[in-house]
Symmetry: D2
Subunit: 339 residues, 4 copies
């Protein structure tokens, strides 16, 4: 940590700051320059909060130099984490994995129809929400526990890997008993109690970025899960909020190469929630693979017009099948296996 | 709702869209113009999701014309809501109310020291968090249930009104038993299960905006609480995330006059979390009152340097007292009572 | 245009608004609903500014329904514009075009070294700035007119197509005499006098988005150029400003499929200025081709460490050559010709 | 400047970096820590561009520690700059100055009507644009040179101080001959050639922030003007672009206390362009004075509905007069003189 002092700081202030550093079990290194005096903090930075220095009137700025998250950091864990989803599917290795399915579980029939359609195409991992975070309290809130039972039946009878979203700490355990994989959505990236709860479960967790969390905050959210013992975290880029009104959110594909440098965790892309409409999904899916994503999370519905949520951004099976084939070529062009 | 159709749309598509509208119990009004065909939806818009139309290939855009939130809307409830905090303190009327106190409950001694200091100055409502949403899992997470007991003791022995933050659905009921008022922080503005839970409690709720929720999303969050039966919602502007690196967040003071038009709910301002440092807090507090806020939420600590959280943005008692006096003049200048 | 009136609007207001509409040579269509009264404006919307209605106290909101830009709009010009750069190079057709070169012209020797290196690899279009928009007045501001002469020599002696940036209305004509193609950078996207000036020149113009212009504002900027008679506009996505501190800007690749729907103009991508560092450039370049871009604008320097500007984001020839080869595969995978 | 090196950096890299620093006439100070090696650059940082270090593969991050702008910096010039507008009006001292007038010059009659109305109320500085930066090429672009002559007549005959916007380097000299004060608008904050040109003129310049320039970039823009010899720069906050759709822009009032710390230049606030509509202007004006602004820039038109631009955000004389009186109280409450 580097502490830049205000101009004209005296010995008294330097002594005070040195004492704070010492008390935390760290060493202070003072450099008095012509224009500024700088204090370097030597040792494990996580032992002290930078705000303590920022609260001092004679401190101008404080710059951490160590990565503040550890379990998620590639600096400490250089090798890629490959998350085993079971049934032979691994994410984070050479293969790009497709996760597809409807926005919400609507009925057993709907789920089996879509599951069978996707399975026939070669898809092995299915998404579908039992609980739905909706902006309006008057919108469809998900089927809840009934949906969990349907998901359980689908994974048992079709052999597909099934994931679903959790929103409430009180539902995590039950959800984990019925599906193979949990998902934490954009509104809950910093719902820290929920993160701790999914951290106690022994199932892979898809962790989406919040619409305006920074990459560092996102990695800290992963750290919350890993800190409870669950290392099977899969990051999922789903778009960030910007001032552009034409898309619902802006898919931040530059986050993928950046995350690949900062963390060893796998990272997938959800182009549907960013786009908010079907049109750009195929182009964005290709770009996601080209930029280095380890997987895609795509909404597919056999009858999007009559779906109970996300009508505009679920692909129809024929649209999805066309895309699925095209993605193979892009994956090959960047040296990855797909489908 | 106004539906703008793509150029060259035919009778078949118009029939289809009319049928969808009819099925929802609404009426369609079709205007065929030279360049565009427009379908007006007549009746209660909340009966139909605009995404259903957006999912149709031949629809260009859909524009709602009714306010989608109702309980929070001034259009439907023209009179200001005045929330009675008890002990003679009301928020949302002519008086501007000060809520002050430390970031976190750290000990019984700390709480009584600060409570007595504030009480002497004339402050009647105290803030302090038992549960802390922290970016890092390694930062102080709050004292939890022990803190709730301290808060209870403080309100009983000092006669102050006491509020605290809730983060987890599992803690709402217990927290509500120990304090007079609950707070939902910026990371939980769209934690819908938490909103429903505080909606079931008969205590005033301070609801902060998320760092990038829109005003409409924020009002929908209020609607979630009100929809469960709790109408005592106090909105609290705490800054939004922008690309300016000098402040932690940008305090959006223009939200106050806009909210005053859109909703009947009281609105207060938290300048501390936006600023992230002590310097700008006094100026922003004055501006908040000048712009029309019904109250302020300010962090005060007798020893910010040794506080367990938010060291840089808690005012010292002397700084707070100076500000408290200055605010009176600003309140008078805009015709409000204060302090 | 659809005008939504405030609740409780009377006949007097409706008469007034009808009169304004009539005066502009348009027709008013009034629908009195249960909750709202709506006025539709029938005819060419460009004849009236929506602000005139917004200025009326009894108007709640105004929604345009016609695309406000015309020359740039695909709705009016459905076929792709293919811009002929000369020497057999066309942009906007099936081929993806590479434009590469140093950030700035630094000397004749530097320019010929890089030009020959690029030409050998197969690159046919070269970039290099004579005038540099720099945040600080103390940074290198470009070689100016001398650089223009060097660029002229390079294009004549190497046979490459050469482009350069213009910043000042007073330099447009001279720049146009020395190069094949002009570029308007992100700080000048809404420098309207400059747009008019390049609109009077008969050379292709690369028009970058501003760091926070919306897509609509960007298309209006193109409209300014086209309105003066120059239809050879090539849009170039170069990243937008967001709250993410890890990248200088966020490359908005979703803008490409959206622009392909809204406009007939070609669109290329500059991944270097968004990234601000070399690391993510190769991944973003592949993603740009996969998402549908018609070309790339990439900074290449034989000695980036000693360059006079943009040291961190110029690729070295070996890095560029490796990327150039990899891009061919991605282009093929999406059915495009490249290199 | 502090340079943080990648883990595992060797002596060869340290020698290389030391040499670069030495070559620039500066000294290197190397600290080899347990986890990271840090190089401090001692001396005048402006002699070297941080990108040179960022371009090196073995450098992790570079942090400047000196303020990169100098003429605009309070660190170097601790005393407030008070800009003398002539005719006894000074900005940047204790008095809060009102600048009011129509968006555009529309006719001699319109200008004299508004000037006389404002003068009678006590306003001494008048705004009005001769050149208009408009998003659309089809919108009213300003009366140009004719308007300049009207402005000249107004200032001579009414005795008011008159300001106007410049957009094109070619018009600066002529504009400066006809008015007392120039204005650079939000689209031209980083139009560096224009900044240099107004820097050569001996008239006060109002410099607005760009809709997404950072505070540092804005101060650099001021530095461009001051670097040419013109120190009479008045900063004007006019709102920033955020993701909130309810206001056109978000007025960043926290910028005022922050700027007061960073710079000695006066700073005024334009609430009209941020709001985009009349409603919030009075509340925002009061907040601007409460937060510490040295002046206000407000659009007033005798007939906003028939104005040629900005219809929705120009106050009517009666609205303005009411506000003008209310502002006096707020100014007094914060110890300032007004009106």
């Amino acid at each position: 940590m580097i502490i830049v002092m205000e101009k004209g700081v005296g010995q008294k202030e330097l002594d005070h700051i040195s004492e704070i550093i010492k008390k935390a079990g760290l060493k202070a290194h003072i450099s008095i320059g012509e224009s500024k005096t700088i204090v370097g903090v030597i040792g494990d930075e996580s032992k002290i909060d930078k705000e303590i220095f920022e609260s001092l009137d004679y401190v101008e700025s404080v710059m951490p130099i160590q990565k503040p998250y550890r379990r998620a950091s590639r600096e400490i864990h250089p090798d890629n984490t490959v998350v085993d989803l079971g049934k032979g599917v691994k994410i984070g290795g050479n293969e790009v994995v497709m996760i597809a399915g409807p926005c919400s579980v609507e009925s057993e029939e709907q789920m089996f129809t879509i599951a069978n359609t996707l399975k026939k195409m070669g898809v092995r991992v299915m998404r579908a929400s039992a609980y739905k975070p909706r902006t309006s309290p008057y919108a469809f809130q998900g089927m809840g526990p009934k949906a969990l039972k349907i998901l359980d039946k689908v994974r048992k009878e079709t052999g597909m890997i099934v994931e679903t979203e959790v929103m409430d700490t009180r539902n995590v355990e039950e959800a984990a008993r019925h599906v193979d994989m949990l998902r934490v959505g954009a509104r809950n990236t910093q719902n820290f109690d929920l993160l701790k709860e999914v951290g106690k479960v022994d199932k892979p967790v898809i962790l989406k970025n919040g619409i305006s969390t920074t990459i560092e905050e996102w990695l800290f959210a992963a750290e919350y899960i890993m800190n409870e013992g669950n290392n099977k975290v899969i990051l999922c880029e789903r778009g960030i909020r910007t001032s552009e009104p034409f898309t619902r959110n802006t898919l931040d594909l530059s986050a993928i190469p950046i995350l690949k440098e900062l963390t060893h965790l796998p990272i997938i892309v959800d182009p549907c929630h960013a786009a908010g409409k079907r049109g750009p999904i195929p182009a964005l899916s290709k770009a996601a693979i080209a930029v280095g994503a380890d997987g895609l999370l795509i909404e597919v519905h056999t009858d999007p017009e009559n779906a109970l949520s996300d009508n505009a951004q679920q692909l129809k099976p024929a649209e999805f099948e066309k895309l699925y084939k095209e993605l193979k070529g892009v994956a090959q062009a960047v040296g990855r296996k797909f489908g």
